[in-house]
């Protein structure tokens, strides 16, 4: 990759992160290009689809997912509390910007999504927590990771679209937790 291309690529990602945070995932890409000081052509060459841009934005986010999971697993307390905290973390992780929870959760089941590798990261993280609980014998038998991701993703999506406070989200997550544990 040529140096000027790299420069533009990085700048676009940086600006897009900012714009998406301000205006949500539906923000105008031409505005992103404008703010990054490049033409629309440059943006669309680097990121043919909106989701390719999202994928690039989420590159650095992977580390945060893993760190968060480590901390969640190191938690000392009841299984119930552990799972509830993890779900709250999970919601936080996918709520990067307005529209994020829906986008990420629906990409979860689509092998052709440009952000599928990011979904895999998240799914694996969730799996670590689930397996830990399963090993404790705390979980119901028929629970699978994808299902859990969808359930918690659903709560996050509703919270995102209804601009709910964390205090309104917790009780919903608690219901899911209770439904999953023995």
């Amino acid at each position: 990759m040529r140096a000027d291309a790299r420069r533009n690529y990085d700048r676009i990602v940086e600006v897009a992160r900012e714009v998406f945070r301000e205006q949500g995932y539906d923000a105008s890409l031409d505005e992103v290009a404008k703010r990054a000081g490049v033409g629309p052509g440059t943006l669309y060459r680097h990121f043919p689809k909106r989701e390719n841009l999202l994928d690039a934005i989420m590159q650095s986010w992977v580390d945060r997912v893993n760190e968060t999971t480590d901390k969640a697993l190191a938690f000392e307390g009841s299984d119930r509390e552990l799972l509830l905290h993890w779900f709250e973390d999970y919601v936080g992780l996918i709520s990067l910007h307005k529209g994020g929870p829906a986008k990420i959760t629906s990409a979860m089941g689509d092998p052709n999504s440009p952000i599928i590798t990011k979904c895999k990261v998240l799914s694996s993280a969730n799996d670590r927590v689930i397996e830990r609980l399963r090993a404790d014998g705390a979980l119901r038998d028929d629970v699978e990771t994808l299902q859990v991701c969808r359930l918690v993703g659903g709560v996050a999506t509703v919270a995102d679209q209804g601009s709910l406070e964390p205090e309104a989200v917790r009780p919903m997550l608690a219901v899911v937790v209770d439904g999953l544990l023995k």
Copy 2:
């Protein structure tokens, strides 16, 4: 309302129902107008916002909600089965077209939404079921209707956006049911 206005109004609603079913809630409104044989001006005069059109579409749907609720309450079986069946019905009721679950569920908490009266209908229906279970002493103490609507709406939203089969949705609803019952 003048006769020609009434005619156009009805025709637009009828066509919109069809177009939304075919293409989802994001369908072009100009296309709706075109198919209804009216100009865009006419459509936007009757329905200033997309949601006003949705509200009109859902007018006849109210009866179906009430009928479905009656049937659900007449169910003879365990509380768990009753609630699971009701949730499946609920998902079906809000899955009128692609984008429906998200739209309806997020309008649930917004008093200014044009479809708020429809949300109230749904919320009341859900309340009837919840209260019946509460009277049986089957429910946890801190359960409230709005929360339940959001939880099930979240599942429906995820299912809608991921084009999930009913067989994939049922286990998720079962988790919610187990989390709500004592």
